[in-house]
């Protein structure tokens, strides 16, 4: 058992040849096997991962991430490794290139263990729209893991391995991280190349790290960022070490709490836990103010218009012609399009494509989409303005803790309401992180969201790691010991 040790310890063991990468890989696969009923994975990369681990035996251990196993959400393209987006329409799709983030983790000599379960095309908030069935919450197998990055959250929470990649369009990293008690970061829009991330809503999507602790999260983010010529929305920034502020004192930090985040849309057990944290922060010398932020209550409506509009166009490429599932013996080209898409996509995806197409049709584009973009810009400005006076914004990540897998799915707007607190961050392109801060009466994890100004991820990690240390929670659902 090595994977529950700290990354620095594992690195030492690899360096002094006490262990080899293959030991870590085999341990990860054993863990996944033990937790198979959690349904965290769609495809395992066993053969290739073992081969890769053996190749690494001859290489110098040149960085902290060397030889470490990582899980990748199944909407991130992996060369030669099936990438389904949890959809029937791509269930036979084997990509011929790697996403930029995959190239980056390969450069660090990390080892991809498998592709994690998710909502179909990341459309959902409980991973129950997956063609392969929903993953289960390691804290209670009757509960959802959240979504759409539910598989990545599940495998990290259950301590299968230390690192996973997720994607976050409207909370899809932070919300499942909150439900499963792990650390999940959605970085600033443009921080990480989206090249090779199957697009859901291009102006909102962002890839991010999901880990058991704050330090690991910052470390993985170091490896993922950077301008990419293949993604025009990626941004060139000076190199920085996101772990650099970890361990610093938070005395004098100015923190804002939007009143909306603490209103009665959030369950009492959660707000009271967040209030405890606020009191702790005050006692440690931070300033915490409750403030009003305009437009936050519009976020879900705006999100539905913008995300569904963009999705209706982004998913048009899945037409059965070049790759993926294709309806057999069509009558003509129209028939290929119609039947492939009718059979290939699941209900939620089809519903969103239809609504999105409607929202962009004719005059509707002006009435809905363009109007939403303009209000979105106002909301972005309102949120950005907070950072004129404050270092960070905090609040709950979710309105409830994880609910039952059997809860009804027939109210589509309910699933959006799960993400009411996380969506504004995507709308404004800001970085946001979920930090576990405790449990409710049923021993289900409660998460707190820390939101920073654009490109100020390091400041988020500073506060998160400080709280992580102060709270010193036991976050292993299997009850084992946790190391940093």
């Amino acid at each position: 058992m090595y994977l529950n040790k700290s990354i620095k310890e594992i690195n030492e063991l690899l360096k002094n040849k006490t262990i080899k990468p293959i030991d870590l890989v085999e341990e990860a696969f054993q863990n996944i096997e033990n937790n198979r009923e959690l349904n965290a994975y769609i495809t395992l990369n066993k053969e290739e991962a073992i081969k890769r681990a053996k190749e690494l035996e001859d290489k110098e251990v040149d960085n902290l991430l060397f030889g470490l196993p990582i899980a990748v959400k199944d909407n991130i393209i992996t060369k030669g490794l099936r990438t389904t987006c949890a959809s029937h329409i791509l269930d036979n799709f084997i990509p011929i290139y790697d996403a930029t983030v995959v190239e980056k983790i390969n450069e660090k000599n990390m080892i991809i263990i498998g592709k994690t379960n998710m909502d179909e095309f990341a459309m959902g908030s409980s991973s129950r729209t997956s063609y392969f069935g929903a993953p289960k919450n390691p804290w209670n197998k009757e509960k959802i893991s959240g979504g759409s990055s539910g598989g990545s959250a599940t495998t990290i929470a259950s301590r299968d391995l230390p690192f996973a990649l997720g994607s976050d369009t409207g909370g899809s990293i932070r919300q499942p991280a909150s439900y499963t008690g792990i650390v999940g970061m959605k970085p600033t829009y443009g921080r990480i190349s989206r090249f090779g991330l199957v697009a859901f809503a291009s102006s909102l999507d962002q890839i991010g790290p999901m880990t058991t602790n704050v330090y690991n999260n910052a470390l993985l983010l170091n490896a993922l960022v950077g301008k990419d010529e293949k993604d025009l929305t990626s941004v060139r920034r000076e190199d920085e070490d996101f772990t650099r502020l970890i361990g610093e004192d938070i005395k004098g930090m100015k923190i804002a709490v939007p009143n909306y985040f603490m209103s009665d849309i959030v369950s009492k057990s959660i707000t009271s836990k967040v209030k405890e944290v606020i009191e702790l922060l005050k006692s440690k010398g931070a300033t915490v103010d409750y403030i009003d932020v305009d437009y936050l209550e519009n976020a879900v409506t705006l999100y539905q218009i913008i995300a569904m509009g963009e999705a209706s166009s982004n998913l048009a490429r899945f037409d059965g012609i070049r790759y993926g599932f294709s309806y057999e013996n069509p009558e003509n080209i129209e028939d290929v399009y119609l039947k492939t898409r009718a059979e290939g996509f699941g209900e939620e995806v089809k519903r969103r494509i239809m609504v999105g197409s409607y929202l962009l049709s004719g005059e509707n584009a002006k009435v809905y989409y363009n109007k939403a973009l303009s209000i979105r810009d106002d909301m972005r400005k309102a949120l950005k303005k907070v950072f004129d006076s404050y270092d960070l914004i905090i609040g709950p990540t979710t309105t409830t803790t994880a609910y039952d897998l059997t809860d009804p799915m027939d109210d589509p707007s309910k699933s959006f309401m799960d993400d009411v607190l996380v969506i504004p961050v995507n709308m404004a392109g800001l970085p946001g992180l979920n930090l576990p801060i405790g449990f409710d009466d049923n021993k289900m994890p409660i998460g707190m969201q820390i939101i920073g100004n654009s490109f100020e991820e390091a400041k988020i990690y500073k506060l998160a790691s400080y709280l992580e240390k102060e709270l010193n929670l036991s976050l292993n659902p299997n009850g084992g010991e946790d190391n940093e």
Binding site: Y189, E229, L232, T233, G309, A316, D319, G362
Partner: protein, 460 residues
């Protein structure tokens, strides 16, 4: 057939000469919306084009997605500019065969990606992805042309301007310039515009003219017969030299345009626009004017303008005190012959500006005859030696020794008494014959001007 008033508008797609296939400019991500465009290479082309076409240039623009399901676009949407075309409200001027000058108004000019080339083979459609994603500009005129000649002159002018502007190679045959022509006719100016037919697949400028004429004829016949037709797309078939129906246009195409979220907004700064304008080479009409002022004949002027590389070379000589007509003769004559034969550009030869000026002056002062030139041209264009050195080395230096020529002239006069007599009788032809004899005797080496002077002197 009755007379109708035709109204014609043209949409031209031009492939840009950019090296990259995709939109490779970039600015900051969403939320920052800063004005820093980090890569303007590709934008220089449409920026130049808009300027050349006298368009206003939009400072803040974005791209849009045009959504439609069709196999020629693999994403099932095309990246284009619907809401914010980079150029608008422009014009180009054409001169009709009557001498009348006419402005063809440009409605707008936008950037978009090219689609696949589809080839229809019976019931199958073949797709060529090579040109997919190549940046294009589309130039849309107002419906302001009224006959085939207008269309022909407009397309010729556009091709000349865009190729001189280094924006596109404008090869209609290869598809780097493609024109779609919209034609409608109506009885009176006061009537609303008639039903429109769009002609696609036009393979040459002359076919565009022919297609328009055929289409006007076709529509006239329909109206004369008291019939109507539906808006439609036709293609020009060069086997039958006529247009044929492709499809009747569906009404209410809904392309669900929205701002392309994968490409940030582009904000053009004054510096960027200035840089684009400064990179525009001298355009054809300005060249024509300058050449004529320097005494270059009309024929040579047109020939030079038609040959971009020779014209550029000639432009380096505009301020030199040389005989520009001789210079143009030289470039368009023997030098062109050499370049064509050897498949070279003038810039591939050793003919520096300084050596070319030397050559022009030697011809101008008759030191070098056209025969001499032919003898040494290959060496002039392939070595770095000075023209004087080449002349000496090749032993073709003209006989400029007065006494040597005078001796030969005297001998010729003595040997041709009849011709001398004819000359004295006033027959001008005779002196040409005698001059020919002098050149023959000297094997063409006598300085012709000097020889003529001496001959005239001796005869009188």
């Amino acid at each position: 057939m009755s007379n109708y008033i035709p109204t014609i508008g043209v949409e031209v797609h031009v492939e840009l000469k950019t090296k990259t296939k995709i939109f490779s400019n970039s600015i900051n991500g969403y939320g920052e919306m800063a004005n820093s465009l980090t890569n303007v290479v590709d934008l220089a082309y449409p920026g130049k084009a808009a300027t050349i076409l006298n368009c206003k240039i939009r400072r803040i623009m974005h791209f849009d997605r045009k959504n439609y399901f069709y196999p020629d676009i693999s994403k099932n949407y095309q990246i284009t500019q619907n809401a914010t075309p980079i150029g608008y409200d422009g014009y180009v001027e054409i001169t009709k065969s009557t001498g009348e000058k006419k402005k063809v108004y440009i409605e707008e000019m936008h950037i978009e990606e090219d689609t696949c080339k589809s080839a229809h083979r019976g019931t199958k459609t073949l797709l060529d992805f090579n040109r997919a994603g190549v940046p294009l500009i589309e130039i849309v005129t107002k419906p302001c042309m009224s006959d085939g000649e207008d269309v022909k002159l407009y397309l010729e002018k556009l091709r000349e301007l865009l190729s001189f502007g280094d924006i596109s190679d404008c090869k209609i045959e290869e598809g780097s310039m493609r024109a779609d022509v919209n034609v409608s006719i109506r009885k009176n100016e006061s009537d609303p515009l008639g039903t429109k037919a769009e002609i696609k697949n036009i393979g040459s400028i002359s076919n565009a003219k022919l297609g328009v004429e055929k289409e006007i004829e076709r529509q006239t016949k329909i109206y004369d017969a008291g019939e109507t037709f539906k808006p439609q797309t036709r293609r020009f078939d060069d086997k039958i030299n006529d247009t044929v129906l492709m499809r009747v246009k569906e009404t209410g195409n809904d392309y669900r345009y929205f701002p392309e979220p994968d490409i940030p907004y582009v904000i053009l700064t004054d510096e960027m626009i200035e840089r684009a304008i400064n990179s525009i080479p001298m355009l054809p009409d300005e060249r024509r004017e300058k050449y004529k002022k320097l005494g270059v004949s009309d024929i040579n002027t047109e020939k030079l303008v038609a040959n971009r590389s020779l014209s550029d070379y000639f432009n380096t000589l505009l301020d030199e005190k040389i005989n520009h007509q001789i210079a143009s003769n030289l470039l368009l004559g023997d030098i062109s012959g050499y370049l064509n034969k050897n498949e070279k550009l003038i810039t591939d030869t050793t003919l520096s500006k300084e050596r070319f000026i030397e050559l022009v002056n030697l011809i101008d002062n008759n030191t070098l005859t056209s025969k001499n030139l032919k003898d040494i041209l290959d060496i002039v264009l392939e070595s770095d030696k000075s023209i004087q050195t080449i002349i000496k080395e090749q032993g073709i230096e003209n006989i400029t020794d007065d006494s040597e020529i005078r001796n030969i002239v005297k001998e010729i006069i003595n040997n041709n008494p009849e011709s001398v007599n004819d000359y004295k009788q006033g027959h001008d032809r005779a002196i040409k014959y005698l001059m020919g004899q002098v050149m023959k005797e000297t094997k063409g080496k006598a300085n012709p001007k000097m020889a003529m002077d001496i001959l005239t002197e001796e005869l009188n």
